[in-house]
């Protein structure tokens, strides 16, 4: 089964880095990109993804605010918050929304663990 993942980051470079790993390891997933929270929510309204990776530090609404909004819209959707800001408070807030925290720079291993977990949860019916 093919799934769709939404990648939200104001940095095109950061999105490119995620997509490079997805292309290599998860070619079956469809990718949708957004550069900010507003664009991400518009994209979700038009065509809801199965999972989402969100940068924390973005202009406008940050990744944690977006995570809370996505959680409201899609309560079971696998979410990952990506940030170099690994302060305990940020990590705890990400986990409190039910999102995984993925440190930047993103490693193939960390992204792989998120994708494997997401795939398993989706197979069990999470969305």
């Amino acid at each position: 089964m093919s799934y769709k993942i939404l990648i939200v980051d104001d940095s095109r470079l950061a999105r490119m880095a995620v997509i490079k790993v997805l292309d290599a390891n998860y070619p079956g997933w469809t990718r949708v990109e957004a550069a900010n929270a507003d664009d991400a929510l518009r994209s979700v309204e038009e065509s809801p993804p199965d999972a989402a990776l969100l940068d924390f530090n973005m202009p406008g609404r940050d990744g944690l605010e977006l995570a809370a909004e996505l959680r409201r819209l899609k309560p079971l959707m696998p979410l990952g918050v990506i940030s170099a800001n690994h302060q305990q408070e940020i990590v705890a807030r990400a986990r409190a929304t039910g999102a995984s925290f993925l440190p930047k720079p993103l490693t193939e291993q960390a992204l792989g663990e998120f994708m494997e977990d997401a795939t398993q949860r989706l197979a069990k019916g999470a969305s």
């Binding site: 104001d10 470079l13 530090n57 302060q87 930047k104």
Partner: protein, 214 residues
Amino acid sequence: MTPTPRTVLNELEVDALTELVNLGISHAALSLAKMVREEVALSVPKVTLVGREEAIKILGERESKNLVAVHQVFEGDITGRVLLIFPEARSLELVRAVIGRDLSIEEIIELEQEALAETGNVILNGCLATMANLLQRNLKISLPEVIRGDSAEFFNLQPPPEAGDTVMFIYINFAVRMRNVDGYIAMLMDLPSLAAMKVLLGEFIQRTAGTSAG
């Protein structure tokens, strides 16, 4: 007498601050090494508590006028700015190291500003977040901003600190030797933040060594 940074922190507190910076920068260097897929060499961090003019002079004597910096503001119990600084001539090389060889020079130039901001964001956040965790405080960190200029411009960013212009200047040299890229990380705080830092350092010393700075 106007208090200066040297009179605000005692020797043990400067030592603790150096250790915090060391841990923060080590984390940042690890992040940079992952990004460039090469070893990043670090100098021993030098915490230099100086005024603004002296900070400008130190960097001005070591480096040319054409510098580029990624700049972020942090706010919380302590407030200040942190800068990742390197010679402008090396910025494309740093970007190339981060992006890899898959892209053409035109694409690298197009991505330069954004790649610098993102690289700075990862390095500076890694450093600040490590320090905040060790001090057991939360810091709000702004979005990264890429600026170009000389040391005088970098240390006179607007708005100026409300409480005078005395600053603390921490610098450390990092080098990606294979790429001939090196630079500095500088942290600036005004005196009220330095006084707040003194309290946090006292708590950190107490937790770490079970003793107070006195």
